[in-house]
Symmetry: C2
Subunit: 125 residues, 2 copies
């Protein structure tokens, strides 16, 4: 059966601590603050497990590549800051009703915003 390893617990802690979508490199970097020896392959293995468990969701970002975020959150979209290169979760939905012309059956959608985040724009200190 599955064992509770310190590395997987560290990875979960990383996601609890940073409430935003994270890439493999970020998980590795932040995870190493908990388990210094944390290895990339281990990160990959555990991300896969956590996705299978339904604890994480994999998303494909047009400029950041594969990101992982916690499941169970309300519908939202993503913001990518060109300064700090981080992805943020934006609450709510910014899609208009008449998104597609007649004939197109819209079942799902994804919105990616690009710009500068509060902490990089200096609005938040």
């Amino acid at each position: 059966m599955r064992r509770n390893t310190t590395q997987r617990m560290a990875i979960e802690k990383v996601f609890k601590q940073h409430e935003r979508p994270l890439g493999v490199d970020e998980v590795l970097e932040y995870g190493r603050s908990f388990v210094e020896s944390l290895n990339q392959a281990t990160v990959y293995r555990n991300l896969k497990l956590l996705v299978e468990d339904g604890w994480l969701k994999r998303i494909s970002h047009p400029s950041l590549g594969t990101l992982y975020e916690r499941t169970g959150r309300a519908h939202h979209h993503h913001f990518h800051c060109r300064e700090c290169n981080r992805a943020f979760e934006l609450p709510g939905c910014a899609l208009k009703e008449d998104a597609a012309p007649d004939g197109f059956i819209v079942e799902d959608h994804e919105i990616f915003l690009f710009g500068v985040c509060p902490s990089c724009s200096g609005v938040a200190e």
Copy 2:
């Protein structure tokens, strides 16, 4: 100087004929109807040239990967049909004004819709 090869002209014709974002494989397939011997490397080389010329634009689709589309078109978004697996261009913008919370400076955005296209849903015959 640059020569006007039949293969590049074929590739341009493909984009003029199909007014939708195309992947490398699609360009190759459609292009071969004009130049039977068309090679994948040639497609890559010419797509790069056409992007440099500003005649094409490269977009990164979350599920279809890299696509190319003609430049100069009005602002629009993309629809991906899960039946025929093609990408379509949707005219207009479906983004609400208040897309991001205060503090986020939105400079650009991309919207991807998923569902079934008219020709696959049977609405259009």
